[in-house]
Amino acid sequence: MTSWRSLSRTKIVWPLIALGALLLLNLFFTPHFFRLEIKQGHLYGNLIDILKNVAPIMLLSIGMTLVIATHGIDISVGSVVAVSAGAVAILIGGDLAGHPKYPIAVAMIAALLVCTAAGMWNGMLVSRVRMQPIIATLILFVAGRGIAMVFTNAMVIWLYAKPFAILGQGYVLGIPFSIYIVAFVLLLTFIFTRRTAVGMFIEAVGINPTAARFSGINAKNILFWVYTFSGLCAGISGLIVCSTVMSADGNNAGNLYELDAILAVVLGGTSLNGGKFYLFGSIVGALIIQTLTTSIYAIGIPADVSPVVKAFVVWAVCLMQSERFRTRIVRVFVRKGLSA
């Protein structure tokens, strides 16, 4: 009992329970949901689809976690995904024979640089100009799509350069390649924030920037680099999005991803008020969102009802996260138990 109590206080437990519940639901409602086969030399099944399709949101949520920990928000990430996709697509070019205009590695690095610069722009506005984060990032939220459209000339660019497909469609040891990218970024971020003092600095800035400054933390630079990192994550995410469908669509690539990323962070237990952050919680949060989407397709819930189902699940998970709600529920049950 005591061990359950201490466990239930760790933030990661509740999102894990929600994820487990979703998977359990599929066990009953979707035959073959957990079936894994080997097709064309890699694993094939709904679970693999979830892993493959969740990668872009996971990457965004890693960057977003740090931003939210500083009591900020970055709503430009969806647009930056489109910028990244547009930049890499225009540099690789839509040659039908698959000959890239510039080497694929060069195109990818260039796209990442553009997105890092976008992150720096956000970081500069928030840390130096001291704009409110939602307004500062609103600029690129709007302008980002415009930039992407300029890159792609407002057309959908289809890519035929095969090696670029590895990013979003390749497999290593039977598992989607994109998941390795996420694991790599996650690991680096974890080491950098949790094995050094950087994570604590970020949390300190999120809780009270003035106090953080007085205790010798360079709050301005922390803010600047956190937004820059979020831009870089969005850039990597955009490369995967582009590679998954081998096309760049300035209008639709990464559309509303910022909301999914924010939701993943919140589902993972990080408060929008800043302070303590939970990287692995955000990863689980992203998994919940994608599992939900894939389940809706697999169960065959009609298109016009599925947003309601999504809304309900999100609502339920958020309630589970609330400590006050949980204690109320427990109290109700305890009272009933006493009167019986």
Binding site: V156, N251, N252, Y297
Partner: protein, 324 residues
């Protein structure tokens, strides 16, 4: 003194000649065009087509306004068109409602309104002279008819064995999604063995289309036909089918809509079977309508876009001429 008189007379004559010439000369018509913005590839092609057709016509002058997806911008643009006394207004509505007042103002100023592609609400349509655009229901029916013929020609449909059909719908609630689904079903109901077993919202995008198709294939690996409400979704689904180890175009018959260039390439490569054109190149027809208007001809209340369909028989020939 006499000389001055002569000069004056000459000047007077010259003035009369000039003014008569001004009246007789083909006066250029000013066309106000307000577009919704650039929301998609289709819209971009549509905008460019209309702009080019008008600017290339020496008798027409265009005043263009990009509303950037905002209705208030569009209403402002129409008001400024009225103030400038343009001869005709071309107009694609962002939303259906809320244009009544400004359209009434245009009517009072005797400026005809020609709508392109997207209409305003029914109760405001009497302010509008005509609307030109695609017949989405007919597009869905064309897809159904094409499928019926293809199945028959290839001896797949014997009229009783079930045909397993999956459908990728456009964004829930969008007019083309509703009407294309309806049109396809109008044909499907004459074929009781056609079973639309799977139908989901693919949001008109390739990435969503791919994700949904992945899930369809896990639930039912025996899908025979995919009907996608646009080519983007079909092209995304083709990749999902390939990843499942199936051959798109052969194991699964693929029908898309819009006829974008990427789909032509897929058809030529044998990875897709058919696409129904949804023609965004409305420019020439719009200019024709303006000329008819000038000539005093009566325009029909609805001008349908000229549209065709493409499959393996004609895609390769048409590919080099595709503009979008």
């Amino acid at each position: 003194m006499k000389r001055w008189g002569k000069v004056l007379a000459l000047v007077a004559v010259a003035m009369v000649v000039v003014s008569v010439a001004a009246i007789a000369a083909p006066k250029t018509w000013v066309v106000g065009f307000t577009q919704v913005g650039s929301e998609s590839e289709w819209r971009t092609a549509d905008t460019i087509s209309v702009q080019d057709s008008i600017t290339n016509d020496p008798t027409l002058v265009m005043v263009y306004s990009d509303a950037q997806q905002k209705q208030e911008n569009q209403i402002k643009a129409i008001r400024s068109f009225i103030q400038r006394k343009v001869n005709v207004i071309l107009f694609t509505a962002i939303v259906e409602t809320g244009y009544g007042t400004v359209l009434q103002e245009a009517q009072k100023a005797h400026i005809p309104i020609v709508m392109i592609d997207r209409p305003v609400a029914k109760e405001d349509m009497h302010y509008v002279l005509t609307i030109m655009g695609s017949d989405f229901i007919k597009e869905g029916e064309k897809a159904g008819n094409w499928l019926a013929k293809y199945l028959k020609d290839n001896g797949i449909d014997d009229g009783s064995t079930p045909i397993d059909i999956a459908e990728l719908q456009g964004t829930t609630g969008a007019a083309p999604a509703i009407d294309r689904a309806q049109g396809f079903r109008n044909i499907a109901k004459d074929h009781p063995n056609w079973q639309i077993n799977h139908s989901q919202d693919g949001d008109f995008t390739s990435s969503q289309g791919k994700q949904v198709m992945e899930a369809f294939l896990k639930a039912d690996p025996k899908i025979q036909v995919l009907f996608a409400h646009n080519d983007q979704m079909a092209l995304g689904a083709i990749q999902a089918i390939k990843e499942a180890g199936l051959q798109p175009g052969k194991d699964i018959i693929i029908i898309g809509m819009d006829a974008v260039k990427g789909m032509f390439q897929a058809i030529v490569a044998g990875e897709a079977n058919c696409t129904i054109e949804c023609n965004p190149l409305l420019g020439p027809q719009a200019v024709q309508a303006i000329h008819d208007l000038r000539a005093g001809k009566k325009l029909p209340a609805r001008i349908w876009t000229i549209e065709s369909q493409f499959d393996a028989t004609n895609a390769a020939a048409a590919l080099p001429t595709r503009q979008y």
